[in-house]
Assembly symmetry: C2
Homo-oligomer: 219 residues x 2
DNA sequence: CTTTTAGTTTAGGCAAAACTAAAAATTATT
DNA sequence: AATAATTTTTAGTTTTGCCTAAACTAAAAG
């Protein structure tokens, strides 16, 4: 696999995130990257010359098969590094994203594989997101949003969506972590807020915007 | 501490390596960096605008106090990552340099300090080179070249100079590692080659060019 | 004391990657 | 359908960092 610039890799990542099936608009991509539309036009031109994307002017950009594979390999690195930072170095799960963004650009197949081995070939990162495998296969995306469960069920938190540091602060304040189990006490039909009871007996109220970013399975 | 480009950091590193006390010539720096002299002239101009070096045209470049501190912080990262790669991920000591060159550019004070803690705040890297401390203090440079010891003494290998992959291959072939002890059986006054006996009774002959890159202390 | 040589700097280009401003194409609205 | 609003592209700049070629400096050789 050839080597790519960080900028290229960032565009590939962004495209993958915005959907690897449907074409992505210049504007959406610009917003996600944090650049102006004109810069994006130039960038995707460069990417298409490397066969990482196909561009239809005025219509949109789409990753090629090669581009998708590259995206997954970057995501693999990103999520393995996040796992390392949390599990091995003791960072908080709200701190690791910007660091992983730097580490994911380090080029070395062997490093990635050794890291994966060292971590025990994890299938999911500290946020519960699936870590792509060497071959590009994706482990399952875990859980459903809390709102999908019915009153009376016991659930286990398995994933949280990265919704900014305030979200994580809130989770920490409520002592909510992956693996925690709760009884669903109520789900408001009015504002979709959720009421949980922890095994220690504490009751937790979650707003809709909180609960929508928390995913769980039946315990 | 401000943030610097990788190119800048590479120049700072090179300058430090070529000697932080005496001024360095454009040519030496160019060779070390792997760029042309003209590129170096421009680069050091940029660096001097950031107060990282002082330049006297046609005479030479020298790191400022600020530059030396930056150099040490990069070296600290480099050597901590090398330690991690060897001790934690099981890389060979001959493999880690290019990887550490990438990892050393990751910007995060906290990451460095957590890494150091995780590794047990090592003072020397897998080659026996001193790891600068947070404050810039340098642990001792270990050992003397094998040729400095006299016949009959028992010595312990504590450091090897990075002299390319063939050198490391040779060390591996001879099973020479940091911490190994040997008896000095002979030092040739003719070609400065060295003859060692390992505890297991094997005798090893080292050419001058080999022994000059191997450092030891009295065991 | 001039000339040659080695080393350094300037000058001018090129590529990547960003920007602004203006033109063109698309989509939405009367 | 015609016009307005939005989006995208083009065109021209900027910065970083490299290059080659030409000019310059300093030191060594004649």
């Amino acid at each position: 696999m050839k080597t790519h610039t960080e900028s290229e890799e960032n565009y590939i990542k962004a495209l993958y995130h915005l959907g690897s099936d449907n074409p992505v608009s210049n504007g959406d991509l610009a917003q996600r990257i944090g650049a102006k539309g004109s810069s994006v036009t130039q960038a995707v031109k460069r990417l298409s010359q490397k066969n990482l994307v196909t561009v239809v002017p005025y219509k949109g950009v789409q990753l090629t098969k090669e581009g998708i594979l590259l995206a997954k390999s970057i995501l693999r690195k990103h999520r393995l590094w996040e796992t390392f930072l949390v599990d091995t170095l003791g960072f908080g799960w709200d701190q690791v994203h910007p660091l992983a963004e730097q580490l994911e650009h380090v080029q070395s197949e062997e490093l990635v594989e050794r890291l994966s081995d060292f971590l025990g070939t994890p299938k999911h990162d500290p946020h519960g997101d699936p870590i792509p495998e060497r071959n590009g296969q994706m482990p399952p995306v875990l859980g459903e949003p809390l709102g999908a469960f019915a009153k009376g069920h016991t659930i286990k938190v398995v994933r949280v969506e990265d919704a900014g540091s305030e979200f994580f602060d809130q989770l920490d304040a409520m002592n909510i972590n992956l693996g925690n189990t709760y009884d669903v006490e109520a789900i408001s039909s009015f504002d979709a807020s959720v009421q949980l009871k922890s095994p220690s007996g504490h009751t937790i109220w979650l707003s809709k915007s909180m609960s929508a970013n928390i995913y769980a399975v039946h315990a």
